[in-house]
């Protein structure tokens, strides 16, 4: 049953000698350059896609290193200065007994970014082969990566809010650290990386759809 479905050929726009618009779905003749309906650029397959995915992914990974080494938050309470890294902030929340919030921050700032690096790398590596997970699995993975990546920004917003709110001179002040900027960049770079991925490549491999 599964094998029968796998070998069944699906008529794609490329096989039919046409090109489909990824923004609006409009179908055009192969030589068309700009979509007539929405004005997007047309490409039967985005050939430079994987290269851009890798470039942005590496940029995101590099920016994630200082994000973990430098303080995210610099808190001064009654003259004492305390610096918190991402992981340090999570541990502190945990020690305060705010397990739920500690978990949210941990998932958003550690699990999601690292999981996303791995997922994008896996999708990019596997784009041209149909072996490991079949089309649907990889499609779901891609959708999850696209949906969830933005949520990593939570910690950057938390820092912004705290810095705005806690400016009670002499009692307590909060300043954003260098990590806030590099973490924001890391999230942005991985988002761009995921957006550059052309999901049609996953299905081409699955269907061995070569022309």
């Amino acid at each position: 049953m599964e094998n029968a479905r796998r070998t069944q050929s699906v008529l794609t726009a490329r096989r039919a000698g046409l090109v489909g618009c990824t923004t609006c779905g409009r179908v055009h003749a192969r030589q068309a350059v700009v979509c007539h309906r929405c004005g997007s650029r047309l490409a039967s397959r985005d050939t430079g896609s994987l290269q851009r995915v890798w470039a942005w992914l590496f940029a995101g990974m590099i920016a994630y290193i200082p994000a973990n080494l430098y303080p995210m938050l610099v808190t001064s309470t009654f003259g004492k200065t305390q610096q918190n890294t991402i992981v340090g902030g999570v541990i502190e929340l945990f020690e305060h007994g705010s397990w739920g919030v500690a978990l949210i921050v941990f998932v958003a700032s550690v699990l999601i970014p690292i999981g996303k690096f791995i997922a994008i790398a896996y999708l990019a590596v596997s784009a041209r082969s149909a072996v490991v997970i079949r089309g649907h699995g990889r499609q779901h993975l891609y959708e999850v990566v696209e949906f969830i990546g933005r949520w990593s920004m939570i910690d950057v917003f938390v820092v912004a809010i705290l810095a705005a709110l806690v400016q009670l001179d002499f009692v307590a002040t909060v300043h954003p650290g260098i990590a806030a900027a590099s973490f924001a960049l890391s999230v942005a770079f991985t988002m761009i990386s995921a957006q550059n991925f052309d999901p049609r490549l996953l299905w081409d491999a699955y269907e061995a759809d070569d022309t």
């Binding site: 726009a13 046409l18 179908v27 499609q139 949520w151 912004a160 806690v166 307590a172 299905w203």
Partner: protein, 213 residues
């Protein structure tokens, strides 16, 4: 950018799945139901009755809420006798005070400027169509831009960030949400509702048909 050529003949009735490139014949989809790609099961079309009008109304509501959310006090912080009210505007300028102007601009763009500009672009592109008129000039460009920037509008993530920030300072001070907090929360709900009416492929098809006739 190259000029658009003449409308491609004979391909009107076809649609290619944006995720997997499978070709489909367009059959009329009854309002309220979903048409999925037969290969990858991505939702291709999910038209709703009166969707255009509702999207424009909800976008307008969201824009008004947005203005309230930015300038009204967002949170109030009390420590002993001291108290401080902060608006979203203050949160944005907080980064610039500590010499991180680029980050301050980025936060402003993600939670205020971009969501607001997207609402305006959507209202501009769909408003005339909701009234049954021809689309405004450059309506396609406006809608394309709104679609491309969707992942970068992060108002709902900001709300969760606020919740986390509140827990973080409960030990330090007493914090009460102000009117802007509720405006922002309502804004997130309205945005979710608006997106549930939005069927990209139907909007694009209607845009093309209306500008032709």
């Amino acid at each position: 950018m190259p000029e658009k050529g003449p409308a491609p003949a004979g391909l009107d009735g076809l649609i290619a799945c944006p995720t997997c490139d499978a070709l489909h014949n367009i059959a009329p989809v009854p309002p309220g139901s979903k048409a999925r790609c037969h290969r990858c099961h991505t939702v291709l079309m999910t038209p709703r009755q009166g969707a255009m009008t509702r999207i424009v109304m909800l976008a307008a509501t969201a824009a008004v809420l947005m203005i309230a959310a930015i300038f009204f006090p967002f949170l109030e912080l009390q420590v002993g006798g001291l108290s401080r009210k902060s608006s979203v505007f203050d949160a944005i300028t907080a980064f610039s005070a500590s010499g991180m102007l680029p980050l301050s601009i980025a936060v402003a763009a993600l939670i205020v400027v971009l969501p607001f500009a997207r609402l305006v672009a959507i209202a501009y592109a769909l408003g005339p169509m909701a009234l049954g008129w021809h689309p405004a000039p450059q309506a396609a460009r406006a809608f394309r831009w709104a679609e491309a920037t969707r992942p970068w509008a992060m108002a709902e993530i900001f709300i969760v960030g606020v919740a986390v920030a509140l827990v973080k300072i409960t030990g330090l001070a007493k914090v009460t949400p102000g009117p802007a907090f509720w405006a922002f929360a309502a804004l997130v709900l309205v945005t979710v509702l608006k997106d549930s009416f939005m069927c990209r492929l139907t909007v694009w098809k209607t845009l093309e048909e209306r500008s032709r006739s």
